[in-house]
């Protein structure tokens, strides 16, 4: 197993933003569910959990059955209960919204059932009879974990290659800690791996041709040695602005900064003002994290409008409640500071076409600048393999994750360009089913 997390992590400053439901509240909430036919919440869930069914089971105190229903569709149901943007998925689809009554708190109910399962140590799945087939999975994030678990149910041996020392992927080092802390993600990883037969090789990069690291393996060797390969890598490094001053101390990529905060301790005591550049969900996450760590002033600088940002409205509403500020229709033109440390961000307003408006220049004072304008995509790592199409850094596949090159499948952020954990879980599971169909003896009855 990879090394344990250090207890000295900045993220431990955060409490859960959404409080768990205690038993009586969960039962009361579950009793409100209408048990819709062909329910809209199921359709809104990328993993298509039978939500009315698991909620009904909570209402009758059949919590074990409830958890089974959840995990049957999504083995990462415990983390998804915490990190899913339910407001725009299942909860957003609840018919109670149409009745102008509060929608069912599906995420909290899912957390109730899955947490109970973890606490009680219930297990629901066993590895299938060994098939003698072996599958390699690249990246130890949600997509690969979901795929590996499903493959184990089919009886295929799995090996996960992870270049980091930490497994769990974005769930471990990227999720906002007020949704889930890394230790919880680690607990989930252990729970998933407990099905047995999943070998995890950490500190092993996978590359094309001549691999760089000492332990690294090549794509070609994986293809040779395994019956199938699932690519479940996430996204790459934070994008940069290409403006002067990005190299100054105190300027960080948001994802890298979040990882440092989640997996270790960062010193924010001397920081008075933070600026976050971007308007997506990573930007809002990091705004809320900065505020939560007690940095007195945080300003989000976004080139678009509040209405037009890709970050979720409900997240921004929460950020505002936590004291965040924003400069809308603003872009950074330079980052400045004396003595090699950031002190300010020069900005200019832009028009509807994102063109600078002359004379609208202004300055945002900041001793911490976090860039949340996207991440590089890692699809290019497969470019050397013929028959695989990489578009804008994303690996193109059919609906089941098949790349078009025999043995090669992909799912999660490297395929979808960067979505939710629940999308990765869904894509991993679907790809596992496609892999099983391809490598199992013909005529096998599938689960």
């Amino acid at each position: 197993m990879p090394p344990a997390l250090t207890p000295n992590r900045s993220e431990t400053a955060f409490e859960d933003f959404k409080l768990p439901l205690l038993r009586d509240a969960a039962v009361a909430e579950a009793n409100r569910c209408l048990f819709c036919h062909d329910a809209p919440c199921i359709k809104a869930c990328p993993t298509a959990i039978d939500i009315p069914q698991f909620i009904r089971k909570i209402a009758t105190d059949n919590v074990r059955g409830s958890a089974k229903t959840i995990f049957e569709s999504n083995i990462l149901g415990m983390s998804c209960a915490r990190v899913c943007p339910v407001e725009v998925l299942c909860v957003g689809a609840c018919v109670y919204n149409e009745l102008e009554q509060p929608p069912i708190e599906i995420g909290k109910l899912q957390r109730y059932a899955t947490d109970r399962a973890y606490e009680a140590g219930w297990t629901f799945f066993e590895a299938g009879k060994p098939t003698g087939k072996r599958v390699a999975l690249i990246g130890a994030g949600p997509a690969s974990l979901a795929a590996a678990h499903e493959l184990r149910r089919f009886g295929h041996a799995c090996t996960i290659f992870e270049k980091r020392a930490t497994i769990g992927g974005l769930n471990a080092f990227g999720v906002a800690p007020y949704k889930m802390r890394a230790d919880r993600a680690m607990t989930e990883v252990e729970w998933v791996l407990s099905i047995g037969g999943i070998e995890v090789k950490t500190g092993v990069g996978v590359g094309s041709g001549t691999a760089t690291g000492a332990n690294d393996v090549s794509l070609e060797s994986l293809e040779r040695e395994f019956d199938a390969v699932f690519v479940g890598v996430g996204l790459g490094a934070d994008s940069t602005l290409g403006v002067p001053g990005e190299q100054l101390a105190g300027v960080h990529g948001a994802v890298a900064w979040i990882e440092a905060m989640k997996l270790g301790a960062i010193d924010t005591k001397s920081i008075r003002r933070a600026a976050v550049i971007g308007g997506g969900n990573t930007a809002i996450d990091v705004v809320r994290e900065v505020a939560g760590l007690g940095i007195p002033h945080v300003e989000m600088i976004y080139r678009g409008t509040r209405e037009g940002m890709s970050g979720y409205a409900h997240e921004w509403t929460a950020a505002l409640a936590e004291g965040a500020h924003a400069e809308w229709r603003a872009v950074a033109t330079a980052i400045e500071g004396d003595a090699g440390r950031v002190e300010r961000v020069r900005c200019v307003r832009v028009d509807d076409n994102k063109r600078p408006i002359a004379g609208s220049e202004f300055v945002v004072e900041a001793d911490l600048v976090l860039l949340a304008i996207g991440q590089s995509k890692l699809g290019a790592m497969l470019a050397s393999l013929g028959g695989i199409t990489v578009e804008s850094g994303r690996i193109r596949t059919d609906a089941n994750g098949f790349t078009g090159r025999a043995k090669w499948y992909a799912g999660g952020d490297c395929r979808n360009g960067g979505k939710e954990v629940v999308n990765a879980a869904a894509e991993g599971k679907r790809a596992a089913q496609a892999i099983d169909a391809a490598i199992s003896p013909k005529g096998r009855a599938h689960v």
Binding site: C36, P40, E98
Partner: protein, 430 residues
């Protein structure tokens, strides 16, 4: 609605069997009517009358005593008890009856009684009337405990004994006598007629229904649990209302009956009370809802009823009593050619499709999901007009049952059998 109509204040006063009451709402003989202090508080809250918890033979109670039926998180949708008649000393009850009468002279106190021998009946009737009882209610209904000693429902289930004891009571009473009937019989009518033959001035029904409310599935013991044993209880509360309504109506429409009725069984709100009155009750008695929510529920009973009476132009309770009895008929006299179909208001529909599941699994498979919309489609050529979709729909007024003019003249099964009258083609029967 005109102001003139609204200007009328309905007269809620009523009487059953000659027992006059300022409004139709009486506390039933039960724990809420156990003591003078309770009943005085109830009268202050607005209750019209009270049937004092049954005086009679000495008893001792068990613990526990009550159980509740829960459905979808609603506790006490049904209720049971294995408590017996009053366990307080007779003298205390009589003293408090007198005191309560003195404090609330306009609110009738009906004293419920249950003893065995004629001499005991004579004695307890005299004491009750001396204490100030405005009426008596003979407890021929209790289906647990007392019946094992030959009282309560053991009397109510035997018309001859019912008649005999009723005649004793009437003989010794100078105030009206109501007989409280048990629902633990296959047909209520002979039992009502027995009370009438015994000379009763009215009846009250229903008492509770023999029941096991639930089972402790970890201890393997029915509930309510007394140590490691249980016994059948008397079922009551909202869940029994339909049974009670039927029994009240069955007596109300019986042409040989004709006695006043005090309706009991699951009255929880003014709507329930209106239903009992429309089916022939001149007063209604309430227990379970008070046990669950307290005396304060009477405020809604009173002003809800008043508003209903205003809306429908009723000035007095007697104008309402039995108004829905004539349409209560035998099935064979229903019009088989009357046809309704379900309609969905597409603007109100929230797309839950409970109707789809209900119709497909529990009815006639005529409600279908559609492409591109969550609003289902009803195949009216297959819809039998059963109401199931309307019942499961969570949106008030979204699904309505619409009358269809199919061109057929009304025709009943009896007419079909006797005269060969033409029936419309069956729907959904293939």
């Amino acid at each position: 609605m005109s102001d003139a109509t609204h200007g009328i204040t309905p007269d809620l006063s009523t009487s059953t069997g000659g027992i006059k009451s300022p409004n139709p709402f009486w506390l039933a003989s039960a724990p809420p009517a156990n003591s003078g202090a309770q009943i005085q508080r109830a009268f202050e809250a607005g209750w019209g009358g009270a049937v004092w918890k049954t005086l009679g033979a000495p008893i001792q109670n068990v613990s526990s005593r009550f159980g509740g039926h829960t459905i979808r998180g609603v506790h006490g949708a049904g209720f049971t008890n294995i408590e017996l008649i009053t366990d307080r000393p007779l003298e205390v009850n009589l003293r408090e009856i007198a005191e309560t009468k003195r404090l609330f002279p306009k609110n009738p106190i009906i004293v419920s009684l249950m003893v065995e021998t004629e001499a005991e009946w004579r004695e307890i009737i005299k004491k009750s009337i001396d204490a100030g009882a405005d009426g008596l209610e003979l407890n021929f209904g209790c289906p647990h405990g007392m019946c094992e000693r030959g009282m309560g429902s053991a009397v109510g289930q035997e018309p001859k004994i019912n008649e005999r004891i009723t005649s004793w009571a009437v003989k010794y009473s100078t105030v009206p006598v109501l007989v409280k009937l048990t629902p633990n019989v296959s047909d209520i009518v002979p039992h009502g007629l027995a009370a009438k033959r015994g000379g009763a001035h009215g009846v009250s029904l229903i008492n509770t229904i023999k029941s096991i409310i639930s089972v402790d599935i970890d201890r393997f013991v029915p509930e309510p649990r007394v140590g490691n044993l249980s016994s059948n209880g008397g079922y009551c509360g909202s869940a029994v209302k339909p049974i009670a309504l039927h029994m009240v109506a069955a007596l109300a429409r019986e042409k040989d009956f004709g006695l006043p009725i005090s309706g009991i069984g699951g009255v929880s709100n003014w709507r329930d009370a209106v239903e009992f009155i429309l089916l022939g009750s001149s007063t209604v008695q309430v227990c379970t809802e008070v046990m669950l929510r307290g005396y304060g529920v009477v405020e809604d009973l009173i002003d809800g009823l008043e508003e209903y009476m205003r809306t429908h132009g009723f000035r007095t309770i007697p104008e309402m009593v039995g108004k829905a009895v004539p349409p209560f008929q035998e099935w064979g006299d229903l019009d088989l050619n009357y046809e309704t179909v379900a309609r969905i208001d597409t603007d109100k529909c929230i797309g839950c499709q409970l109707c789809v599941a209900a119709c497909h699994d529990g009815a006639h498979q005529c409600i279908h999901p559609q492409e591109h919309t969550r609003v289902p489609r009803i195949d009216e050529s297959e819809c039998v007009g059963c109401n199931l979709c309307q019942i499961v729909c969570p949106v008030p007024g979204c699904i309505t049952m619409e009358e269809v003019d199919n061109g057929f003249t009304p025709a009943t099964w009896n007419q079909f059998v006797n005269d060969g009258i033409k029936l419309r083609p069956k729907k959904g029967a293939h």
